[in-house]
């Protein structure tokens, strides 16, 4: 029905112009996403001030408080989540380890977005041959299991933090590359780009001023999903013993260390894994909210409540 289609596209435009609800209100409408966002804010606080505030407690060996189970406040609030084999507070250790865990994931995602996005822009805009070569390389990277790729690269280069970030970024670059290139190919055909070229804009100028603003929101949407993926990947690598090496600590490494005490002190392995899960869950909930908000048709469902059915006569 062409008439029906015409009117829903008109309504999509009018939604943007009217902009009825602010970001906060939209976030509040989706309770799950709201909780996720709040949790990420808490984690950000842990990352920023955690090691400074609780660094000492995380390293304080107290053999009298060894292997305390979580759940009781008898030994003080620091031991609410239990303690490890050396009597160190689990709560403090978790908070301190959050910095490495989250920053590594964040850095990888940023690097992947910048490099992948740039390569995608180039592949889409510059000539056919360059584009094809880039796409083939991207295919090669994507066709191989990311974990194995990371394993072999980290074997050759030492598993230092920088290498870890780079290799994780490399495994994620193809998805940004693909999306950026697709968007560029589509936009390139549009009239305003021709107009800019006719007015004498250089290729770089056109890329930057006209194409980047359209491509960026899509890339940002992918970033939130990617953040979860990279966190899980790094945790997996550290768990296997190939990622972060002691004395650096991340939640993944904590799980590996706790694995030996599974029957005596299950919380040593369980709690760090739970922390990973909560963080990735929050990121995934937030990313699905972002996707809904970016799509005008679905966004409407958040803004308006449900309605009754039936024929309306006037």
């Amino acid at each position: 029905m062409s008439a029906a289609n015409a009117s829903s596209s008109v309504s999509a435009e009018s939604v943007n112009i009217r902009r009825g609800l602010s970001w906060w209100q939209l976030l509040w409408r989706d309770k799950f996403a709201f909780v996720g966002a709040m949790w990420l804010v808490c984690l950000a606080a842990c990352v920023i001030v955690g090691p400074e505030l609780l660094g000492k407690e995380a390293g304080a060996i107290n053999l009298r408080a060894r292997n305390l189970a979580p759940g009781s406040l008898e030994q003080g609030w620091l031991m609410a989540l239990g303690s490890d084999a050396l009597g160190r507070s689990m709560l403090a250790r978790l908070i301190v380890a959050s910095r490495n865990t989250l920053l590594i994931a964040l850095s990888s995602v940023l690097v992947a977005m910048l490099v992948g996005g740039a390569l995608g822009l180039v592949a889409g805009y510059v000539g056919r041959n360059v584009g094809n070569v880039i796409m083939r390389l991207s295919d090669i990277v994507q066709s191989f299991p990311s974990l194995l790729l990371a394993v072999i690269v980290l074997y050759v280069l030492e598993p230092a933090v920088e290498n870890l970030i780079i290799v994780l970024a490399i495994t994620r670059i193809p998805s940004y590359l693909r999306v950026a290139r697709a968007e560029v190919l589509e936009i390139r055909e549009r009239v305003f780009v021709d107009a800019a070229r006719a007015l004498g804009g250089s290729r770089f100028h056109i890329l930057w001023r006209h194409i980047t603003p359209v491509v960026l929101p899509t890339l940002l949407t992918i970033m939130t999903v990617d953040f979860a993926i990279v966190m899980l990947a790094e945790s997996g690598l550290s768990f296997l013993g190939i990622g972060i090496q002691p004395p650096e600590i991340t939640w993944g490494l904590m799980v590996a260390q706790g694995r030996n005490y599974l029957s005596q002190a299950w919380w040593l392995a369980f709690l760090p894994g739970l922390a990973i899960m909560l963080a990735t869950l929050a990121a995934n909930l937030l990313s699905s909210w972002i996707r809904i908000v970016m799509d005008p048709v679905q966004r409407w469902r958040l803004e308006v409540g449900s309605h009754s059915g039936g024929i309306q006569r006037d």
């Binding site: 029905m1 062409s2 008439a3 029906a4 015409a6 009117s7 829903s8 008109v10 309504s11 999509a12 009018s14 939604v15 048709v297 409407w300 308006v304 309605h307 059915g309 039936g310 024929i311 309306q312 006569r313």
Partner: protein, 341 residues
């Protein structure tokens, strides 16, 4: 909307639609696609539903066939009856049993409307199997027979082919075969020729004509093409903005239109003797925001204040059940008499 009096009231209609309303809630908008449509189709006749895109002609028949998902569609009517039996109130499974058997439907784009992963013969044979008429080898043979009836050469071979392996015209024949397989009393054809070349169009219309004669089928022909109406239909209902604005025999309506919209449509047909075109002024209505009163008012040269305040009722406007929904159709009659019709 009161239904108009029908001088054939003593004969039972095959398809009887009375005051049908269909609305869609999509996004923030409420689209009133069909607003009080009523008409009847009698056995063996061809009824054309003429209108532009957006007039509600396809939605009307889709609602009658109960093919609209509800929500987002909301359907209400005083009654919709096929051969005397209620359609809308029937449990869906029972209605499905009648689909294909009592009424068949042909769609516009045969490439999209045929399942790409099953062979044409399989899809035809399924019609028989699903209604319990024939199964297995028997159904396959009937499928092949059907293909040759609708004019597909080498039917035995072609039955194993897939929809994308046929040309547009052949595909449409397959669709028609599927619709008439069980010898239904009514065939609904939704713009069956719109996507085809002119020469192929003629062939398809000829096929429909032949099948109708052979099987004494009634046909509801949905179209925007005046030429098709003139050639193939007995009666026509002209739709605008979800309403039937004029109905009657094809001869009466096309030679003596009694509604400004029909008149404007006929006038807009390019005349090789004229040096300029005379399209209908204004633009098609926004179905989510219909004007008050008569929906054609913004584009009508006969409009008055009454037209803005009051929706026109369908009234008798001539012989042979010629009806019009216009406050001022008498003016059109006057123009005719004066030779300006």
């Amino acid at each position: 909307m009161t239904s108009a009096t029908d001088s054939r009231a003593d004969t039972a209609a095959l398809l009887d639609i009375n005051d049908l309303h269909v609305q869609f809630r999509t996004g923030r908008e409420l689209v009133k696609a069909v607003n009080g449509v009523s008409f009847r189709v009698f056995a063996g006749e061809t009824m054309a539903i003429l209108g532009e895109s957006g007039s509600g002609k396809s939605v009307t028949m889709a609602a009658v066939m109960r093919l609209l998902a509800s929500p987002p569609a909301y359907i209400e009517a005083t009654h919709v009856q096929l051969n005397g039996e209620d359609v809308l109130g029937l449990p869906l499974a029972d209605w499905r049993a009648r689909c294909g058997r009592d009424v068949g439907m042909v769609f516009q784009d045969a490439l999209a409307a045929l399942n790409p992963v099953f062979s044409v013969g399989w899809q035809l044979a399924e019609t028989f199997a699903v209604h319990g008429i024939a199964h297995g080898r028997d159904a396959q043979e009937r499928a092949v027979e059907l293909l040759s009836i609708v004019g597909i050469p080498d039917a035995q071979q072609r039955a194993g082919d897939y929809p994308h392996q046929f040309s547009g015209g052949m595909r449409q024949r397959v669709m028609i075969a599927m619709a008439v397989a069980l010898d239904p009393m009514l065939l609904i054809a939704d713009e069956p020729t719109t996507a085809l070349d002119v020469t192929v169009q003629a062939q398809i219309m000829e096929l429909l004509d032949r099948l109708q004669a052979e099987r004494n089928m009634a046909i509801v022909l949905i179209t925007h093409d005046l030429g098709v109406v003139a050639e193939a239909a007995d009666r026509v209902a002209v739709m605008y903005a979800g309403r039937v604005v004029e109905s009657g025999t094809v001869k009466d309506v096309l030679t003596h239109p009694r509604h400004p919209y029909t008149r404007a449509l006929l006038n807009s047909i390019p005349d090789p003797n004229e040096s300029s075109l005379s399209p209908i002024i204004g633009s098609p209505p926004d179905m989510a925001n219909l004007p008050s009163g008569c929906p054609f008012r913004p584009r009508c040269s006969f409009a008055t204040d009454q037209c803005a305040n009051e929706e026109p009722a369908i009234r008798d406007a001539g012989v042979n059940d010629h009806h019009s929904a216009c406050h001022h159709f008498e003016q059109l009659i006057a123009l005719e008499v004066n030779g300006n019709g």
